[in-house]
Symmetry: C2
């Protein structure tokens, strides 16, 4: 029994652009976020209040939020926050939701933020408490929930344990990421079965990478467990830093195309979503990898011939 509706978070402006080598202007980011919302996306991960020298692509987080102004009714503008200083900046910028992030594997977390998982969780305690006191919902990301570029397959108990700790800290939801895109449906089941014994399914978000083509089969498996909130990136923006030249985030269009086919409501219009991502190809100077982004929607009845695909920039 699949859910009737699914909540989508487009992480393209943050997770996508962070992994693109070419800087994008503040104006273009703002236009991108607005176009996503115009396409029906109700949650956008807009930027990240991490150290600008670490992630220069997102150094303009405050400017992006300032230019965006308040989110329209029913829309959430979220931002990543690594610590209390980041939270201060995020609160000053008027973010609508805060995301903290750690990993299910020690080596990944150490290399990513130079801290153990326990240290990260301790650092988040005041962040989560203050964000909630400010009335903001908090998401807790668990990277490498299924596999780690350094440690190999992640024991599911680790992903479950870190998820529960994030929720115990006060996170409203936990978002388990297949950071290197290795999961197949049995891996998803191996995490969700024990996790959902302790956690209401409404507090679980899944974030799949399509690096090995399994993102959509994993979404299906997640939905079979009742999960109804997924991350994706318009156009498939953002490569995989652990396998250069390979895909990273699941493309939002590909997810919407499948959900449309399954009759599952998302509120997102496919063609408008393609329009939102299209300017990024020119700005980044590369073809975006999303399959539906490239191929276009299905040809309608008697449409007169093959659809016009998106042409990559020269």
């Amino acid at each position: 029994m699949l859910p009737r509706a699914v909540h989508l978070t487009d992480v393209g402006p943050r997770d996508g652009l962070q992994n693109e080598g070419v800087p994008v202007s503040t104006e273009a980011k703002v236009a991108f976020v607005r176009a996503l919302v115009a396409a029906g996306v109700r949650e956008v991960e807009v930027s990240s209040f991490v150290r600008p020298d670490r992630v220069p692509q997102l150094a303009d987080a405050a400017e992006v939020f300032a230019a965006l102004g308040p989110a329209p009714a029913g829309v959430v503008y979220a931002a990543l926050v690594p610590n209390e200083r980041g939270l201060d900046r995020a609160l000053a910028a008027g973010v609508g939701k805060v995301s903290v992030f750690t990993a299910a594997t020690e080596t990944f977390n150490r290399r990513n933020v130079n801290a153990s998982v326990a240290e990260s969780l301790a650092r988040f305690a005041p962040v989560v408490a203050r964000a909630r006191a400010a009335g903001l919902p908090v998401r807790g990301y668990v990277s490498t929930a299924f596999g780690c570029p350094y440690e190999g397959p992640t024991p599911s108990a680790q992903a479950v344990d870190v998820s529960r700790r994030l929720l115990d800290l006060g996170c409203d939801e936990v978002d388990l990421g297949d950071t290197i895109g290795v999961a197949t449906p049995p891996d998803v089941a191996a995490v969700l079965e024990p996790l959902l014994a302790h956690v209401p399914v409404g507090r679980v978000v899944l974030h799949f990478h399509d690096t090995r083509g399994t993102a959509l089969v994993n979404v299906l498996e997640g939905m079979r467990f009742g999960v109804a909130s997924f991350d994706a990136s318009a156009g498939g923006l953002g490569g995989c830093p652990y396998a250069p030249g390979a895909s990273g985030n699941l493309a939002t269009e590909d997810l919407v195309y499948l959900l449309d086919g399954l009759g599952i409501e998302t509120g997102v219009r496919l063609e408008a979503l393609r329009d939102a991502a299209r300017p990024l190809e020119g700005l980044l100077g590369r073809a975006l990898p999303g399959k539906v982004f490239r191929a276009g929607p299905a040809p309608g009845p008697h449409c007169g011939g093959p659809v016009t695909p998106s042409r990559p920039p020269r």
Copy 2:
């Protein structure tokens, strides 16, 4: 309940290379077929005995079969055959299996072979009879079984009807193709449910294109109906002629990666499969799109760092 084992046909040498603009030498084709077999592929669609002026990429079909010699035990070398003259050439070349092909939609068949579906079927009657008399198994392809670039969505009754007619002609199996890659699982179910009311599931093969990212979810749906024979193309070779720049055939590596994850036996070794497709990148001068081909297999436990991805040719 999924099947315990799945039979894979690699259609790369025929369906893949036919849709690549760059010609590939007979020697390279032979090496490609041999490498696929070395990787564990037990059925290869080697070439096509169509008019050389129509498909110049495959004009050397007889030379490829001659150079290959007899197929190893347990391996099938198949070829496409459009008519009796093609069958004569195929029989002389020593093919191990013959495939005839028509479509579920009239406009597509008319544009593809300048004949109605009924005319195609009539033309196949002696082809199928003579092939079987020669002791060869016969596959019947149904293109546009789910959607047509000219007519839009295909009514499932048409796909079922053409499939049954091909089997009635004497085809051993029918292979339903999502030629333009538009199907989602409900479309697969809409064809399989009525088809399997008349046809044993062992006579059904599915051929999905990943043009809109749904090939693997459709394979899963097919397996849920008991289908255990699928086509794919090493490296994702062959684009989509109906959406230039977009993906066509499902990449064999992506299919094997999923089936490996599901614990479903294929007999195919993933790394050897990547090795088989890798030379084609140099020959075609373009990066192949298969995701697992690009990203590599999952990093093992304590592998010491991210995997080395396949780098596209410069």
